[in-house]
């Protein structure tokens, strides 16, 4: 399981994972290896698992646009998660892929015509998915069909 956000003193929206930066222009960040260029969806990483170089990773901002690689329509999930919903792997232009919900699409339509979703241009959206114990909105990054 991914690391959880450490609770902070002040109140306000919280990202579901540290790789999501909120603010006027919400975006994802990754760690880029200075030796081989591999990017990881991770803000704390000791070394590069592609080339093995240690201590040579720096944070990079990732694009808010990508393309769907593959998806699945999930019909059975945890209590409180509305089904069916679409989970997708989205390739970002930086050469790293990210997994999230694909929203503003019709799951049934994608099951009938799966080829339609492959390669679909999508963009990042930030949606509130829960409220934490301190009353802060928990914000998640998700993707929707690209509007621009």
């Amino acid at each position: 399981m991914p690391e959880q956000q450490t609770p902070q003193a002040e109140t306000g929206p919280r990202p579901i994972l540290p790789i999501l930066r909120l603010g006027p222009k919400p975006h994802l960040v990754g760690s880029k290896c200075g030796s081989c260029g591999a990017i990881f969806l991770d803000v704390r990483r000791v070394a590069c698992s592609k080339c093995g170089a240690a201590g040579n990773l720096k944070e990079v901002e990732l694009s808010d646009k990508g393309k769907v690689w593959v998806f699945s329509v999930i019909h059975q999930s945890f209590p409180g998660i509305k089904t069916p919903y679409v989970t997708a792997v989205v390739d970002l232009p930086e050469g790293v892929s990210v997994k999230s919900n694909l929203v503003d699409v019709d799951p049934e339509e994608l099951e009938k015509n799966p080829q339609k979703a492959f390669g679909m241009p999508v963009e990042l959206v930030v949606n509130q998915v829960a409220t934490d114990r301190q009353g802060n909105p928990v914000m998640a990054f998700q993707f929707r069909p690209s509007k621009s």
Partner: protein
Amino acid sequence: MRNVYVLGTGMIKFGRYPEKTVPELGAEAALVALRDAGITIKEVELFASGNLYQANAMIGQRILQQIGQTGIPVINVANACATGSTAFREAFMAVASGMYDVAMAVGVEQMGKQGLLGGAGGGSDPAYSTEGRIGSGLMPAVFGQAGMEHMRKYGTKLEHFAKISVKSHKHATRNPFSQYQNELSLEDVLNARMVAYPNTLYMCCPTGDGAAAAILVSEDKLKQLAGGRKRPRVAASVLTSDPYTERDLTLPDVNTLTRRAAQKAFEMAGVGPEDVSLTELHDCFATAELIHYENLGLCREGEAAKFIEEGGGVHPDLGGKCPVNVSGGLLSKGHPLGATGVANICEIVWHLTEDERAKQRQVPNAKVGMAHVIGLGSACTVHILTV
């Protein structure tokens, strides 16, 4: 490295045993294997136990506390779904190295009815649970998407995946060790409720309880103990982990490590995929079986759908070729995680030795058998046995 042979095997019918403990289930399979080998626990020099959900509970020792505390070295193994096959490999290496002449591997698991969603979730504040909010990391999603990759690249249809489930359920009707022994039509499979597209309920393996055991011996011991009985040689034992590939950390890449393991296993055994009489592969979902046809070299890249259309994977008795999962596979036989890897080796051994226990589904003239397991996270084993 010395030659290693499987002298005895044992397995209990997979199912649900809520009244029994994990060590009891393991002990039952171990006793069957000892009886099959014609030896007692006193002859066993090393014991490898595979169990995942109670990995910190010294299950191996507790099995010996049931069947004979002889003070031998015990290894407790956990390696996701590859737990049992990794335990088997530990026993293999113990004998192959020359350090021991008789080693035993037991795989055992008790999963109850927790289903596919078991074991996930947790964390201190559930508001930060990621499941279902930033995609799904559960097995149905992972293997659904692994099938979708094949669909994307090669135009594979839902029906191709569904046909695998029909085939494996038909196979299972001839396996009394299988958790389910029901035949299903293509309509049954396609009309079942969807779990994670493209896998419907009957394209997902059931959870349950089970245990299996194998006794491995050196060539000298085989001559002493086999009494002329035909016993297969472990011609290859390979374990791989997931190498870096671009999407592996987002969507576990179950292909690359399987391909590497299969390639190494064929090299080690000195045989090719065309020599394989039967395969037991890790069909945790129907989508997984389809992609592993290619990963294990049973057909060419991109040709799994054609392979299925031509009767590939189907038992020769039913008009097929290149039989896969004649036991019914995980889809029917069940998938008690720690037991799975040892149980599929039992199946291979029974066909290679024309054992009574596979009589109803014997693959004719079986000489080479391949057993494949994948554990997400990831670990892959491929074993090749020959007679």
